[in-house]
Amino acid sequence: MSPRRSEDLLSAYVDGELDTATRAKVEARLERSASWRAVLEEIRAAKQAVRDLPVLDLPADAWEQLLARVALDEPVAALPPPPPVFAWPRTWRDRFRDRPVRWAGAIAGAAAAVVVVAALVLPGPHEITPKVSAFSTEHQARTSIAGDPVSALAGVEMLHGMGR
């Protein structure tokens, strides 16, 4: 510890703020150091000077001014509670900031639901591709039976609703 910092111990010594071991070290040093004893006396004198300062009475008009000051503060405390008013809901950003984990779970769940619904509702690749082979087979069967390719085609149209 530097000499200056160790000298700080003298004020703590005067104020009774040292533990037993440090207090003993300070007392040992005070016994062998005249300069420390001189500083100690200065510290004690300064402390005593401030402690001896008298307690001061409040000025005569202080009480009136205090009551006036408190009266200014009074209406704030005495006001009735305000009537309930419509409050806009908090912003989504605020809600997300308050509970990010819960919101992340909700978003992930919603995304999964969208994927499942899309898989069920949207047509698969086999449904989009025209059933050329089935159409061709049916057409061949009709033409071979009727022997009339035009009437056979008309039947196919009716069958598949393509004539409109």
Binding site: L9, S11, D15, A45, V50, L56, D57, L58, P59, R69
Partner: protein, 168 residues
């Protein structure tokens, strides 16, 4: 008084002089000290529900110190509000004090006011408000070691100023 908790009127009546003394030693003049006491008592009134019976004067000293520090910060932000250096400012008289002791008190007060705020405040809290180093550290939000150092340096400054004035 209910459950050991005084009303704010009782605090003002019974501890007003203590509050004013601490405020005066911190601020260095009666007008500012009176303003500090008023603001401190308003805060006492608002905060009495949270007061837990214990060292009432310690609690009051912390409140008036916080009011003082808030005011100092406000004035630093707005230098135009800084106190004028008024040589005609009169110290409050002490009831029952003779002329010599009044004069000595004024010299000590003057020397105390000359000490920079960083050192004056811990000295006042220790020697006027009887606060421990731990309590001062909490009130000023500085380490206990810093409190010890500032009190020591503050006292040495005070002693030097008093010696220069011939008061001690």
């Amino acid at each position: 008084m209910a459950d050991g908790v005084p009303t704010w009127e009782e605090v003002a009546r019974d501890h007003g002089a203590f509050l004013f003394s601490v405020a005066y030693r911190l601020a260095g003049n009666a007008d500012d000290a009176q303003d500090l006491v008023q603001e401190a008592l308003v805060r006492v009134r608002r905060g009495l529900e949270r007061y837990e019976p214990g060292s009432l004067e310690g609690w009051l000293a912390r409140i008036v110190t916080n009011v003082f520090l808030d005011e100092m910060r406000r004035r630093r932000r707005r230098p135009a509000d800084a106190l004028p250096d008024d040589p005609e400012r009169v110290l409050p008289t002490t009831p029952g004090a003779d002329e010599a002791s009044q004069e000595l008190s004024e010299e000590i007060q003057h020397a105390l006011a000359e000490i920079p705020e960083d050192f004056r405040v811990p000295v006042v809290l220790c020697d006027v408000a009887d606060q421990s180093y731990e309590q001062i550290a909490v009130a000023l939000r500085i380490p206990v070691g810093t409190v010890r150092s500032r009190i020591h340096r503050g006292r040495r400054m005070l002693r030097a100023a008093l010696t220069a004035e011939g008061a001690a």
